[in-house]
Amino acid sequence: MSLQHYLVISAILFSLGIFAVLTRKNAISILMGIELILNSCNLNFAAFSRFVTPPENIDGQIIAIFGIVLAAAEAAVFLAIILAIYREFGSIRPDEVDTLKG
């Protein structure tokens, strides 16, 4: 269980998250992808905190906690926006919401 283990796991989670964001046709699925990305970041923070910084320094963990806070806030706002979009467009398919189309 070295640092690289965790980094690989986190890299995989990150790529999967990106994949979800890029390909899914449902805004909520995209949100899930974003959550995956955030999780991978937090995991990285915790891992680096464990292995790289001295043991008594747990700043990385605290940053991860802040990351979780951020995720919560983001999720709330995201869903609120989705609801608003749903009311406006009757759909939450991202490719149907294209008011800015040139």
């Binding site: 890029l22 915790a46 905190s49 806070v69 869903l79």
Partner: protein
């Protein structure tokens, strides 16, 4: 590396995490995807435990599983009206997205593999100390007080903002 029970469990968690994450991005039913996400989050929490981050793990479970996931399910229900909902994926997009993700993954793995600084940083088996107290001190007393306050304000703003955005428009 010895193959002890600990490593076994670690690999188990890693596998669960990755597998369920894969499920999140692949299953067509959005509700299933949400439950898969729940498993992923549990998995990550387990990994936190291995990293001796007990408070973080607990937070992960409580906030993510207890909070965010429920929120997502609510979102699903309020936008589709029914629990089951199919997710359409176009092939071209799928290929392109997969390509880019894969490329990113390869990139990251290359970086991980080629950074000598990160090699041989194994779990040296230092004694586990509960971090909750220390985190409490750091957040409320020491250098993270200001970020903590800012975070609380941010949450408040998000709360009010979300309520404002999602409420039904009141026409004059």
């Amino acid at each position: 590396m010895e193959f002890t029970l600990k490593t076994f469990i670690f690999y188990g968690f890693a596998l669960i995490t990755i597998a369920s994450a894969l499920a999140v991005v692949t299953v067509r039913n959005i509700v299933h995807a949400a439950f898969a996400l729940m498993v992923t989050l549990f998995g990550v929490a387990g990994l936190y435990v291995f990293l001796q981050a007990d408070f973080l793990a607990a937070t992960q479970v409580i906030v993510y599983v207890g909070g965010i996931l429920v929120l997502i399910l609510f979102g699903v229900m309020m936008t589709s009206g029914r629990l089951e909902m199919r997710i359409h994926i176009e092939r071209g997009q799928l290929l392109l997205g997969g390509g880019i993700s894969l490329a990113l993954l390869m990139l990251l793995l290359t970086v991980i593999a080629n950074t000598p600084k990160w090699e041989n940083l194994t779990d040296d088996g230092t004694a586990f100390e509960p971090t909750t107290k220390r985190i409490g001190e750091l957040i409320l007393n020491e250098k993270f007080l200001l970020p903590f306050e800012v975070a609380s304000v941010l949450l408040l703003v998000a709360l009010i903002g979300a309520a404002l955005i999602s409420r039904k428009e009141v026409r004059d």
